[in-house]
Structure formats: structure tokens, C-alpha cells
């Protein structure tokens, strides 16, 4: 029966090519814009480290002195050096890392000095975030403790400075000081760079990684937000009242997460007892997806675009409803004859829906082409996420499902009207 309906639908669609083309165009335009914006949304709100995102936690706490404490205000995202070092030293999580963004000038053997982005962090960073290493390895906790002059560099910097060879053991010249290279990164495609969103959320990883104790010894420049209270001469001193360090903990089971939270609450209570503050303090432990959500990693413009596209699809569908109605009712005579020959109302209804579905699928195909065009446009936008937007298989399937569903929805009312046609009246007026 379905085959017969399909045949009828194709015949009917061929009969009025302009109207058919208009309907397909409507659905294609709506689907194309919708899928473009939804793909951007899908990519931006994706999981940067699947399989591990639920086990990595950003530690935030409020241990401000009383004068700075404003109840109800957001818990700060960064920690003071004193707190970060204490948590790192206690090492109660499976893995933990403190870190800050920075930059340094590297002297190349040939050509101008290079300004490179850097991350100052601790040993667990590499296993924690599944950082792939092409040559060598990350540094050890002992290197952290010894303030070892070591560095891990990106594959790109390795290419620039050493022509891509295994540079482990070579010296990275930072100003007038040297760092021994212990590792070279492989391809590390992780976006957004969730571990620190303060300096651009999308893009390549940092080019140099240095133990944070070493970076402090060398007085390397940090970047990102540094928030101090009181008059401070050195914002990176151990006891400086400044928030500038990110702290991440890996907790492999929910029980460990509960235990770690309790440990942090005890830590805050101890600080309070030590007289740093008298308010109760605040703690927030967010896993990767919660953290990205709290940071609003999907730009509000993108959300607005999705709503706009959905509205556009809605208007296109309204249009399709009108055109389908026109198309079906113009065939009142034919429907009347079929009814008179014994077709049930249900049969007429189904046949009309099949016709709407065929239009929807065709709209989906053209919509996909338009979405492809949209992708090209998005990738040429001056946003830092532009290069990462691509359509995956799931979105491809979603395109056809959305096209089919929306065309069937658009077909409901016209099909219902068509099945109400009274055979006698329709035949007579013909």
C-alpha cells in the first residue's frame, strides 16, 4: 500500500512542479539554517574529554578575609597560592594539578625571538588531562619539589625550533635562562580548553609547559585574571592575598568525590580556626560539564542564533502548511473520485501524509546542502571557535529526522482537511 501511496505522491508532485519546488525550498531553507546553528551549538556544548569529564573537578572556595566577604556572591574561580599549594601538598585526590597561564619569549637559534603561550603547572597535569606525548614524558612530582628546570613543548614549537626531531634533552632558551626539554606533545585536539578558559576558550594548546615552582623562580610572566585585595607588592608571593591559580582534582569514584569534598570542608574549617576569617566560607566542586556550563562556554549569540533559526523554521513550516493545503484542496475532484471508488478517509489521510513526507525528505537533502554552505560561512566567521565547527554523523541523521518530522507536522492539517472532502460535492463541482 505504501508503495502505491508513494507512486501517487510522486505523480502528484510532478504535476505541479513550481509548487513542489517552492515547498521543498521552504523546508530546505528552514532545515538548513536550523542545522547550521544547531551544529554550532552541538560542537560548542560538546564534551572536551569524553569518558573522563565526570571525574575531573575544578576546586573553588571562598576563603576571603571578612572585610572582602560578600555573602551570596559567586564563589571565586581561582585560588590563592597558599591554598593551592596546601591542597597540592596534601594530595588527597587521585591526581591534582595547580596551574596558571603565562607567556615567555623563547630565543630561536635562527630568526627573531618568539613569544609563546605557556602553562605553569604541576606533574599530574599530563596524566590527568590525557595529554598525548610524541617524545619523552611529562615531569615527575620530584621535579616539582626540586624546582627542576625542565619543560614540555608542543609539537608545533618543536617543529619551529628543532625541525620536528626528537628534541628531548635539548635546551629551550628562555631569555637568558635555559630549560631542559623532557617531552614533546603529540596532536592534542581538545576544545574547548576547559582547564583554563580565561585566555581564549578555543584554539591550539599552549606551546610550553613548565613546573610552576620553576616558573616562579624564573619570574616568568603570568596571564589570565589576578584578583588581589589590599596593597600587594608581589602578587605571586606565597602569602599574597591574590586569587590567580586554577586547581583541578581527579576523583575516580563517586565515593572518593564525597570524601574529597569532606576533606575540603575540613580544610576550610581549619583555615577559619586559624583565624583567616570568621564567616563560614564557601566550597564548590564542579565537574567538567558543570564547570563549562557555569562559565557559559556557549556564547549567548549562539543561543540567540539557535532560537532565531527555530523561529525561521517555524515560519517556513507555516508556509508549507499553506502550500500543502492549496495543493491538496486543488485536487478535491480527484480525492472525491477516490472516495467514491471506496478509499477510506484514513487512506486519503495517509496518502497526503506520504506526499508531505516525500516533500520533507527532498527538503532534507537540499537543507543538508544549505547547512553545508552554512558551515562554510560559520567557519569564515571571525570567532575563535570557527575552525572547530564540523558536522558529525549524528547531526547528519538529525537533519533528516528533523526534515521528515517537520514536514509531517506541516502535512497534518492539510491532510485532515483533504480527508473531509465530501465525494458527492467534489465530483459535482467538477
Amino acid at each position: 500500500m505504501f508503495g502505491y501511496y508513494l507512486d501517487l505522491a510522486l505523480r502528484s508532485l510532478r504535476r505541479n512542479k513550481v509548487l513542489t519546488a517552492l515547498m521543498v525550498l521552504m523546508i530546505a531553507l528552514g532545515i538548513g539554517t536550523c542545522m547550521t546553528t544547531l551544529t554550532v551549538m552541538h560542537v560548542l556544548s560538546g564534551d572536551p574529554i569524553p569518558g573522563k569529564s565526570a571525574r575531573l573537578f575544578r576546586v573553588r572556595m571562598d576563603v576571603f578575609p571578612d572585610a572582602q566577604f560578600r555573602p551570596g556572591e559567586k564563589t571565586p574561580y581561582n585560588l590563592t597560592r597558599r591554598d593551592a599549594e596546601a591542597l597540592l601538598h596534601d594530595a588527597r585526590a587521585d591526581r591534582q594539578a595547580m596551574m596558571s597561564a603565562g607567556s615567555m619569549v623563547v630565543i630561536a637559534t635562527q630568526g627573531d625571538p618568539l613569544n609563546v603561550e605557556a602553562r605553569y603547572t604541576s606533574a599530574d597535569f599530563f596524566p590527568m588531562f590525557d595529554v598525548p606525548l610524541r617524545y619523552g614524558h611529562g615531569w615527575s612530582r620530584d621535579d616539582d619539589a626540586a624546582h627542576a628546570r625542565v619543560a614540555v613543548i608542543s609539537g608545533e614549537l618543536n617543529e619551529q625550533l628543532f625541525g620536528g626531531k626528537d628534541s628531548v634533552g635539548e635546551t629551550l632558551q628562555v631569555g637568558n635562562q635555559g630549560l631542559r626539554i623532557v617531552g614533546v606533545l603529540g596532536d592534542w585536539d581538545m576544545n574547548p580548553r576547559f582547564y583554563d578558559l580565561s585566555n581564549g576558550q578555543f584554539g591550539d594548546s599552549e606551546q610550553v609547559f613548565v613546573p610552576i615552582a620553576t616558573a616562579l623562580d624564573m619570574k616568568l610572566a603570568t596571564s589570565g585574571s589576578t584578583n588581589c585585595w589590599g596593597n600587594v607588592s608581589d602578587s605571586h608571593a606565597l602569602d599574597a592575598p591574590c586569587l590567580w591559580l586554577q586547581f583541578w582534582a581527579e576523583l575516580d569514584t563517586p565515593a572518593k568525590a564525597v570524601a574529597y569534598r569532606q576533606y575540603l570542608l575540613n580544610y576550610i574549617a581549619l583555615q577559619q580556626k586559624a583565624g583567616r576569617f570568621s564567616h563560614p566560607g564557601q566550597l564548590e566542586l564542579l565537574n567538567v560539564m558543570q564547570f563549562l556550563d557555569a562559565k557559559g562556554v556557549v556564547p549567548s549569540d549562539v543561543r540567540l542564533q539557535v532560537w532565531l533559526a527555530l523561529g525561521f523554521l517555524g515560519i517556513c513550516l507555516l508556509n508549507t502548511v499553506g502550500l500543502l493545503l492549496a495543493k491538496f484542496l486543488r485536487r478535491s475532484g480527484e480525492i472525491g473520485v477516490r472516495r467514491a471508488l471506496g478509499a477510506s478517509r484514513r487512506a486519503i489521510f495517509l496518502q497526503c501524509l506520504v506526499e508531505a513526507g516525500v516533500v520533507g525528505l527532498a527538503g532534507g537533502v537540499f537543507g543538508l546542502a544549505l547547512a553545508g554552505l552554512g558551515m562554510v560561512l560559520v567557519r569564515h566567521q571571525p570567532t575563535d571557535y570557527a575552525a572547530f565547527i564540523h558536522m558529525d554523523l549524528r547531526m547528519l541523521l538529525a537533519t533528516f529526522v528533523l526534515a521528515l518530522l517537520s514536514s509531517l507536522l506541516a502535512g497534518l492539517l492539510p491532510a485532515w482537511r483533504a480527508m473531509q472532502v465530501t465525494p458527492a460535492v467534489a465530483i459535482k463541482s467538477n
Partner: protein, 407 residues
């Protein structure tokens, strides 16, 4: 006109008519809001900074090896002298943060030194003596800094409080509404006396509440180069590229090994364009969607009206046969479309207002100004009339003889 005939005819085509009305209403609502957002973005992109943007070039220099504060200060003086000597340069200064730059420096400012006193974060420009003239700031009250008021960064870190401050007029009005701010005291770095008020100075980037964009203050601090950016004022804005080349050359010739890269040099106009690129992209996108939307709606109206005309061929023939002229028929369809469009527009305005309320709650947009409503309405009346013209002309061409035939 025969409004009543038209209305009673429409009543027989309730579904098609309400579809048309709904379509026009939704289009009207979306178009009004899209126009409004475009206008809002354009307005944002044109916010003045209070500085003479067309004549400014920024030059960033990074140090390779840390040096003593004295050595850096001496090098900075040498650099500034060399930059001033570049042909086409009218003035050179150094500042801790640049407009549309990546970093923003701010302090909590309040009216008393009590730490519980309400404070707001205010951005601070720290620069040397020629900064105000280089930026082309305009004083609206008080005076500029005196030469003996400038301190070094290390003196400031060492706790040199009590340095004077110059604030923007908006900030002056915030703290001292209706009074003169000159002579008053603000608490940022200790107690700072307000010695001058500039007409306008803004944050380097949007930070904090939207209404605080033009809250800014300046301190007399002699910055040194790795912590600051050189600002050049050119005599003729057409010379900016030549000045950039000259400045790069002048800095490379003298001084220690440093990172002097064309990547760290930009005109302020280029920095502005870069800062607002997302807003520009969004405005274009909205404009594109708005055009598509109007196109889709036009096509929809053409489709439905054509169907209508085809359905009513016989009635039209009968009307023609009993004396209606072609222009009567034409006008009939035009008026019908006008009535439907008007109904759609009325509904659309209510919807537009509703959408705006949602946007206000989620996207920090202000209330939709009433002016956008007639603009949207006009657009839809026009496209309605354009869309109906083709089918209506076809209807007018129906010969009276159709009445006597059975199709």
C-alpha cells in the same frame, strides 16, 4: 470598498486566511526584533571612546630577559625619545592598558577608606605625562597632572598612596552627582584627590555592568616598557602605516635583544574593528535572516493567493459578467491582502513585544523602542502588496465568459 463582501468571503476560507495572518504575524514579530538587535549592535559598535582614534598607533614590546627596574625605566625613556623622532609622529606616551586590548586593570573604588563601604570596580589608566595629549583627551574641569606628581611603578608598588587622579565625567557624576568632583577624594590607592575630570574615557573592554562602560580613571605613573604599551599620535592619519614601519625600525636599532614584532603593533582603528567583529558578524547574519524571512513570506503569500484565485475563477467570471471592471477585481484582492496583513501586523506587534520580553530576560537587551513597530508594519504591508500583485492581475485577466463555462 466592499469590506463586508471581502470579510464574508474570508469567512469561507477560515483556515487559509488564518494561516496567512499567522505567517505575517510571526514574520512581523521576528523582523521587528531582528531589526532592533541589529540597531542595538550598530549602536554598540559606534560608542565613542573619547580618544582621537584616527591618529593613534599602539606598539607593544616584550622583554626577553628580566632587567632591573632602573634599567627598564632608562630604556623606556630612550625608546620614547626614539619614537618621537620617527617622522610623522606628533607625540609618544606609554600606558599600562590599551583601548580594545586584551587586558584590563581595575581597582575597587569607594568614597571612604572603610573596607565595608560600597565600592565599584573602575578601570585605571596609568601613564606618563604625554599620555593625555597623545590620546587627545578633553578636559571638562580641573587640570592635568603636574610634572612633579608622576611616580614610578616601583614607588606605587611600594605603597605610594595619595597620588592624584583624573576621572571620566561619567564616573564623576556617579560619585558626586550634581557637584564638581574636582577637589574631592576617592579611595583607590589610599586616598586619591580628584584634580581633573575628562569629558569621556572608557574601559578598554566591556567589563562589569553595561552602564559602567564610561567609568574610568587615570593615574600619573611612569610605566616601563615590558609592563606598558607605547602609544603614538601621528600628525596625519594617512601616514599611520609609514609610522608603524618607522617605529619598528627605531626600536630595533637601539636597545637590548627584545621581541619587537609587527603582530604587536596596530592602529587603534584596526583594534576597534577587531574588538567589534562578533557584533558586526551578528548584525550581518541577522540582516541576512531578515531578508530570507521576508522572501519566504512573500513566496507564501503568492502561493496561497494563487490558489485562492484559481479556486475562485468562476466567481470572478460571474462578477465580471455582471459588470465588475478589471480594476474592481484587482482592487478586491489588494484590499483583501491589506486586511489580512493588517490583522497579521496587529497580532505580530503583540508577539514582537512578547519576544522582546523574553530577550530582555535572557540576553541583556533593552525594551523594544516603539519606532521599530511601524517600520516592521510598513515592511509587511509592502511585501504583502507586492506578493498579491501577480495573482491579482491574473484574477483581473479572467474573462467574463468563464461564468458560462463549466471548467
Amino acid at each position: 470598498m466592499h469590506f463586508r463582501h471581502i470579510l464574508s468571503a474570508l469567512r469561507r476560507h477560515r483556515i487559509a486566511a488564518s494561516l496567512l495572518v499567522l505567517e505575517i504575524a510571526f514574520t512581523c514579530a521576528v523582523v521587528c526584533n531582528a531589526l532592533f538587535i541589529i540597531g542595538h549592535r550598530l549602536e554598540r559598535m559606534q560608542r565613542p571612546t573619547g580618544v582621537d582614534e584616527a591618529h593613534l598607533v599602539e606598539v607593544g614590546v616584550r622583554s626577553v630577559a628580566p632587567g632591573s627596574a632602573e634599567a627598564l625605566m632608562a630604556q623606556t625613556r630612550t625608546d620614547l625619545a626614539a619614537l618621537r623622532a620617527v617622522p610623522g609622529v606628533a607625540n609618544a606616551a606609554i600606558v599600562n592598558q590599551t583601548l580594545f586590548g586584551h587586558s584590563i586593570s581595575f581597582s575597587g573604588v569607594s568614597l571612604s577608606d572603610d573596607s565595608k563601604a560600597p565600592s565599584i570596580p573602575v578601570t585605571q589608566y596609568m601613564g606618563n605625562a604625554p599620555l593625555a595629549a597623545t590620546l587627545g583627551l578633553k578636559l571638562s574641569a580641573g587640570r592635568w597632572f603636574k610634572p612633579d606628581e608622576f611616580v614610578s611603578q616601583s614607588q606605587l608598588d611600594g605603597g605610594a598612596g595619595g597620588i592624584p587622579v583624573i576621572i571620566s565625567r561619567a564616573l564623576a557624576e556617579h560619585f558626586f552627582p550634581g557637584q564638581s568632583a574636582v577637589g574631592k577624594t576617592l579611595h583607590a590607592f589610599g586616598a586619591n584627590h580628584v584634580v581633573g575630570v575628562v569629558q569621556r574615557l572608557v574601559q578598554p573592554r566591556d567589563y562589569g555592568a553595561a552602564g559602567h562602560y564610561d567609568y574610568a580613571m587615570m593615574f600619573p605613573v611612569n610605566e616601563s616598557y615590558p609592563h606598558g604599551t607605547y602609544l603614538l599620535r601621528v600628525k596625519d592619519s594617512a601616514q599611520r602605516q609609514a609610522v608603524i614601519q618607522g617605529a619598528l625600525h627605531a626600536l630595533k636599532v637601539d636597545g637590548p635583544l627584545r621581541l619587537i614584532s609587527p603582530k604587536d603593533v596596530t592602529t587603534l582603528q584596526a583594534a576597534r574593528a577587531r574588538y567589534y567583529r562578533n557584533d558586526r558578524a551578528m548584525a550581518w547574519l541577522l540582516a541576512g535572516v531578515r531578508l530570507l524571512l521576508l522572501l519566504v513570506t512573500t513566496v507564501g503569500i503568492v502561493g496561497l493567493t494563487s490558489f485562492w484565485v484559481a479556486q475562485r475563477r468562476r466567481q470572478i467570471g460571474i462578477r465580471r459578467a455582471i459588470g465588475a471592471t478589471r480594476s474592481d477585481i484587482l482592487r478586491y484582492f489588494q484590499v483583501e491582502n491589506f486586511l489580512l496583513a493588517t490583522a497579521g501586523i496587529v497580532l505580530g506587534m503583540v508577539l514582537a513585544y512578547g519576544i522582546n520580553l523574553v530577550l530582555m530576560a535572557h540576553y541583556e537587551l533593552p525594551r523594544l523602542p516603539v519606532i521599530y513597530l511601524p517600520v516592521g508594519a510598513l515592511a509587511l504591508w509592502i511585501i504583502g502588496q507586492l506578493a498579491v500583485l501577480g495573482p491579482a492581475l491574473r484574477a483581473a485577466a479572467v474573462p467574463p465568459v468563464v461564468a458560462t463555462r463549466s471548467v
